[in-house]
Symmetry: C2
Subunit: 553 residues, 2 copies
């Protein structure tokens, strides 16, 4: 850092779940209007080539929260505990005096096995950060509450029961169910339900509730600085939304499905499995996409409207000018594109994310409203926030853990200077061995083989798949990623280079961050160990004396 | 495991520091006689192709103690703390009722930063295993105690002071110093001292003292089962040894130095740096080797003699038939071979280790005295011990952590059936950025580049070096590793295969072991998540009902 801007006071870190990078109007969506999110983009920088590190909630979020690649933090899928040996965003930010507060979802699984191993009480107040992914447990709600999980005590369920929906699990039977044309209550898990409005009205929706909670927190926090992680469950499924959002978009107005017959003709065993699996085959049906996508866009619009309330409250509290705002998502949603549904693979619909950052300080004035095509990643968030609140990401307390880089330089300069350098690359991982796809994969495929890693450079996307051949897309000639070029001899050199680049990336991953850099540097300084009495490689006193002068190294 | 042998009661895990695989007579050394170690080999199996995972004490030992590759445990060099998120041999063995006891060296650095982060008191009795690498702190001594480290309270120093060497640091001035021909006391760190006897007599040497402590522990332990890690500091430098061991071997009788002019002609920047650095250039001098190597062999002979006492005590206590014995080392010593000194690189002199296992049970009778050329590794020890004491290494409590495989099948069958399969391989890593070699490496080389990884197969040894080209040896045609064949076009395919193999190995390394396999398996079972209420990919009730029958996955 050359010039030190005055530190940011608060951080509002907004995450949507399963929000495609292109499902907001500032990214060019052809139908939906999201004026509040667009206004954020107008006040800050919108990163147009931002990627998640994992293509599923848990692994992606743990990369956001640790600032580390999945291979480094190890929580490779949903519900895989984050090792007690890791550190979170809260650990990096709290030393600067901010409260770190969660409102909504993290998908964090604490490392209960290690807590027990170390004799640490999971219920002790001092261990809350280990249990809540580095946040105070203000309002944790991971957003999926079927009856089987016995969610009677869920705060949102208590709220709904107090507001007229007095059933054991109104999350399911009211907020995520609908009444169909025959008057039957139908679960919102079923995709045909997306055509109907949710039983709860908009003001009692989970999205409204979370924004209410966020506004309450901001107002109650007084002058305490904070980093609030407002983490919406939506537009993640169940894809049902309250009136009037369920019918804002007419199916005929939807953008064309992004898919190509060549994709089905490709005999890649993993692509085939994704396409043929329950979810892929279901979302490849036109009725599904035409029913679900409008509700999905309605959920996004609903979020945008409530964000308008949130930003107005921030204004009213006089905190807009002292609060950095980040708007992003953990991953996208195929929504039938590429003959696939959900996420878990590496097309842009799945792994590319919306990423908007608003730095309210004067140093960022020059970049407001700009779009950066720098290749950025989820892991860049943590170092950016560290720098924003006055820390130095290169301090060892951060640098030994954080694998991303601060984006403050981009926010504080003209975005035109930040075009992607040819040596930039993004990396993402997936572990589809957790998915119910085994019937569609080659017999005998092991869980360890159901993995893949992506590297995306300025022009290419290369996917190393442990099952079947690797995949290569030329994003310049084929931005829709229809044509796998891995077998194209004219790209053999490109592919070999990307393969080596991925190998080098793996070799650079540390599994732990206990390496003590000052110790290493001292250890490697000629003469240092001998001065410390650890003498090896000297014949006699004369040679040692010369050595201690640094002459013999 | 098919047949279940009765569990072993005790484990005696003996490690020497810096003992070359070939510096014992059962491995064919041309001069030294080690009858007690040879007798162990006669009672058990000697593994003739065993490798350490790291070529330096700390990283190698952490692989022994965690059963994990260096890339997985993360303690990449001496004094790099072992992350609190890791588990040790003690964690794996103690649940079976064994005390795990340390007598000697571990080179373990506790993760004090994480202890503080978690609010754990390093001095609390319940945290001793975190501080002592999984062992009770019976007698910890990492063996290097220059005055600069203020080792006044070292138990061995107290012992020496009580036995006539009443100076502040008798470890240095008596046990590791000599009196030269002019009557001057000279530090044992200086290599010319190796020609003279240590000032302390044999019975007060560090080796004798550790064996005394081990015998005392065994006798005091009564009927409690134990795993004792007796970990000698020697024959690690300072290379001085008490009378008469200092002159057992005449310099003229030493085996020929294993080196070739072609090795100096090779312009590989890392090989050059090792050769030209202080240690390499020093040990390349004939006077150094001829002075130091005899003392080194004397230290080995001294260990062998004291092991005779130890084994006699084990016999006298009636525990020989209920005790598994392992004899090994953390790495070797170049001793001038390949124009190098110390260790840290991948020639067999450095990274190959002695590895003898004695299983006293009748099931092992058929293999006694045999030599196995199976490719085995340090990480195989932990699962072997788990199985020996009655555990099942495939139990998740072990299997989620341990990356090696149990060698009990080899010990319980005819060794002839255990020849190395063509798909076996050993892996080792080095991190020479901690060494004082920067003056000899290309300008601008970063610490991250000062790394290399080795894969050794039945026939080849391939070294991926982050600096300079990779290296390839054909061990069949060139067992001495004189001729780097990396540029040989006839081996291009072999090299490419080894390169890919190493890449696959990196991809298989997990940084943490929090993955919950039963959760993954359930998650991947078609229909399981839908049955758990997490429903996605179904249009209506009818489709869901069919799905819950497992028909649609």
């Amino acid at each position: 850092m050359t010039v030190q801007a005055s530190p940011i006071r608060n951080v509002l870190f907004i995450m949507c779940d399963q929000l495609r990078w292109d499902a907001i109007s500032c990214s060019g969506h052809s139908v939906i209007e999201t004026p509040n999110i667009d206004r954020l983009a107008g006040r800050g920088v919108r990163f147009d080539r931002a990627y998640a590190q994992g293509a599923v909630c848990g692994s992606s979020r743990m990369s956001f929260y640790t600032g580390r690649y999945v291979q480094s933090h190890g929580a490779r899928w949903n519900r895989v505990p984050l090792s007690i040996g890791q550190r979170t965003l809260g650990d990096h930010l709290r030393p600067y005096g901010l409260r770190t507060v969660l409102v909504g979802k993290t998908h964090h699984a604490p490392d209960r096995d290690s807590l027990a191993h170390l004799g640490l009480d999971p219920d002790a107040p001092e261990n809350v950060y280990l249990m809540q992914c580095g946040f105070e447990g203000t309002e944790r709600d991971d957003g999926l509450h079927p009856d089987q999980r016995n969610p009677f005590d869920l705060p949102y369920n208590r709220f709904l029961r107090a507001n007229g929906f007095d059933v054991p699990n109104p999350w399911h039977t009211a907020a995520n169910s609908v009444t169909d044309e025959a008057g039957n209550v139908v679960s919102g898990w079923l995709l045909r339900s997306s055509a109907y409005p949710a039983i709860v009205p908009n003001e009692l929706s989970e999205t409204a509730y979370m924004v209410d909670r966020a506004i309450s927190f901001m107002s109650e926090s007084g002058d305490d600085p904070w980093c609030m992680h407002l983490s919406f469950i939506k537009p993640h499924w169940p894809y049902v939304v309250s009136e009037p959002y369920h019918q804002l978009v007419h199916p005929n107005d939807l953008p064309a499905t992004v898919r190509h017959d060549e994709e089905r003709a490709n005999e890649h065993p993993v692509l085939n499995a994704f396409q043929r699996s329950r979810i892929g085959s279901c979302f490849s049906r036109d009725e599904v996409r035409q029913t679900v996508y409008p509700a999905y866009l309605g959920l996004v619009k609903q979020i945008d409207d409530h964000l308008g309330r949130l930003f107005a409250a921030l204004d009213a509290q006089g905190k807009t000018d002292e609060t950095m705002i980040v708007f992003t998502a953990d991953h996208g949603d195929y929504m039938g594109d590429h003959w696939m549904g959900e996420k878990d693979w590496f097309h842009d619909q799945s792994v590319k994310i919306p990423f908007i950052m608003v730095d309210p300080r004067p140093e960022a004035d020059a970049t407001r409203g700009s779009v950066s095509d720098q290749l950025v990643e989820a892991i860049d968030l943590a170092p950016t926030l560290v720098e924003a609140i006055g820390g130095d990401p290169s301090d060892l307390a951060h640098a030994t853990w954080l694998e991303g880089r601060s984006l403050i330089p981009t926010l504080h300069e003209s975005a035109e200077t930040q075009l992607a350098a040819s040596d930039e690359a993004n990396f993402a991982e997936t572990d589809f061995g957790y998915l119910e796809m085994s019937n569609h994969l080659p017999a005998g495929t092991t869980p360890e083989q159901m993995r893949a890693t992506m590297v995306r450079t300025d022009r290419y996307k290369y996917i190393l798949s442990e099952v079947g051949p690797n995949l290569l897309y030329d994003l310049h000639d084929d931005p829709d990623e229809f044509h796998d070029r891995a077998a194209d001899p004219s790209l053999a050199t490109v592919q070999a280079e990307l393969h080596e680049r991925l190998f080098a990336w793996y070799r650079q991953r540390d599994n732990t961050s206990t390496t003590v850099e000052p110790m290493r540097a001292a250890s490697a300084t000629p003469g240092d160990t001998a001065n410390d009495g650890i003498v090896i490689g000297f014949w006699d006193e004369e040679e040692l004396a010369a050595g201690l002068d640094g002459k013999l190294f």
